[in-house]
């Protein structure tokens, strides 16, 4: 089985290079672009030789864009802040709500537990607009329109099913014997949950939380429908920024880089958890 010819090795190398090129090039190109001024971006033919500048990032961070026509206020940092607020609080809430529920589903086969778990899972697959459009009308009535609270609540649609299903799988993999032993030693279920079950399922909870964070960060449609300019996360903000800044391509590129950097960094930092979480426990390779 282990006889690879030279030709095969060359072909394999070429194929792998093509794969890496296709998937890495857009990110590489956008990063290059973010360090260029409009003049070097608009050069033809395009060239990789240029004097890197930090002016795009400076403009975004200070919030002032100097153009020939005058200066323009941009609020991209606020979008970034909104993304952090929305993603962090959504995941925190989803963990608080989801982990105990996942434990209940894993340990106690109570009446209707399978049905409830399935209903939750099927939310993951329903068209988001189906829920969002009526919600916009409701939110206006109950005063949740354009609030962080309303958005975080709706973000549970993404985070909760994910956490519930991944963490439940982890709890199911842990033998309940350890917990029984601890209970027999006279500890209550609360202490058992906190001291035994939670730490044992720790990696699963981390994987689920990480994945939920990334999905929340990357979400576009929820905030597009429910948030106005000052609550918008980067996904929606970057798009609006394109319209507002017109031809400031360097800044647009820098904004994209700042928006995708956190999730990419997380992905690289915790890739093992991520792969496990992505396969939702379906395959254990």
């Amino acid at each position: 089985m282990e006889h690879t010819s030279a030709l095969e090795r060359v072909l394999r190398g070429a194929a792998l290079s093509a794969v890496v090129l296709f998937f890495m090039f857009p990110i590489f190109w956008i990063v290059l672009m973010s360090f260029q001024t409009n003049e070097t971006i608009l050069r033809s033919p395009p060239s990789m030789v240029f004097e890197p500048t930090l002016s795009n990032y400076v403009a975004l961070i200070t919030g002032r864009l100097e153009t020939q026509a005058g200066s323009l206020d941009i609020d991209f940092m606020r979008n970034l802040m909104n993304s952090v607020i929305l993603s962090v609080s959504s995941v925190a809430l989803a963990l608080v709500l989801g982990v105990p529920a996942a434990y209940a589903f894993a340990r106690h086969k109570f009446r209707g537990s399978e049905d409830i778990a399935f209903t939750l899972l099927s939310f993951r697959f329903a068209p988001p607009l189906l829920v969002l459009l009526p919600l916009t009308l409701y939110f206006q009535q109950i005063g949740l329109a354009d609030t962080y609270v309303g958005l975080v609540w709706v973000y549970q649609l993404i985070c909760l099913p994910l956490i519930l299903w991944i963490v439940r799988g982890y709890f199911e993999d842990i033998s309940p014997d350890v917990e029984h032993a601890y209970r027999i030693a006279g500890h209550g279920w609360g202490a058992t949950f906190m001291k035994i079950a939670l730490p044992l399922a720790g990696p699963g909870i981390a994987a689920a939380g990480l994945l939920a964070f990334i999905f929340a960060w990357n979400n576009f449609i929820f905030a597009l429908v429910l948030a106005s300019a000052d609550k918008q996360p980067v996904t929606v903000g970057a798009l609006a920024f394109v319209t507002a800044s017109g031809i400031q391509y360097g800044q647009i590129a820098a904004a994209v880089v700042l928006s995708i950097a956190p999730t990419l960094a997380l992905a690289l930092y915790a890739q093992r958890y991520l792969v496990e979480g992505l396969s939702l426990g379906a395959v254990k390779g």
Partner: protein
Amino acid sequence: MTVAADPLPVKRRMRVSRKALPYLLSLPALLVCIGILIPFFTAVWYSLQRYRLSQPWNRGMNWGENYIDFLTDPSFWNTLKVSLLYAGLTVTFQLILGLAIALLLQKRTRLNNLISIMLLMPLMTAPALAALMFKLMTNPNFGILSYFAQSIGFTDFRWGASPDTALFTVILVDIWVYTPFIMILLLAGLRSLPTQPFEAAALDGVPRFQQFWRITLPMLTPHILTASLFRLLESIQQFDIIYAMTQGGPGDTLMVFQVEAYLNFFQSTNVGRSAALLIILWAITFFLSNIFIKNWLRLRERARGGV
């Protein structure tokens, strides 16, 4: 005396709480979900109404009329066609590419692991932002892809701006973002396959090409099915990439279900039609998700039992 009497009441209290415990633990999660179920039923209700936000006086039940109108509405059939085409094409390409890459990376070498980690990056990029990146790359003035297209002879290739190439452009973005997803699932599947059949085949001198069709592919089928059904479910609902790239245009070239419903709601304020569109989309996804969940549970069961 008091010490001896104490344990009993404690035990009884515990038994009561133990029965209610699972409900209590899952209650908060359930409440959040009920909050989501209400809008769902509202949407069903809207879909049975003549309801435009701009004409509140004209609102009333028209029962199935929104749905019946679809039968003779060319724009509905266009939506259905574009959505199915988009979903079918993206998943097909991603499956072929994802499988090919997974096979390339199957051996656990350091380089292969490094590449599979690199491939996580497109998947972790927000689809809307990925579309924005490709929008910059296909900009006619400075986009690198426009430049490449031009230098190999496509002088009038206008990517997302032309009805002829818009579908190709968004599919390209979708492939860039989601191929790694299929690749990761299939790679995990490939690496979890038992080695004995392959060793036996190698001993018998079965050519590798045949090993692939006779052994690898059949054993990998459950994984392939799970991954592609999952992608199909998401792809038929794609909104981010298409909206960020062209907002459904040019014209109605890319009016998939969710984009059409979004524009119906916010631009023409036709709530009734928008809701009916989404219910039809929901019916399609519900059908698909049932197949998917069954499949996935079987795979999970096998992964558990096989270890």
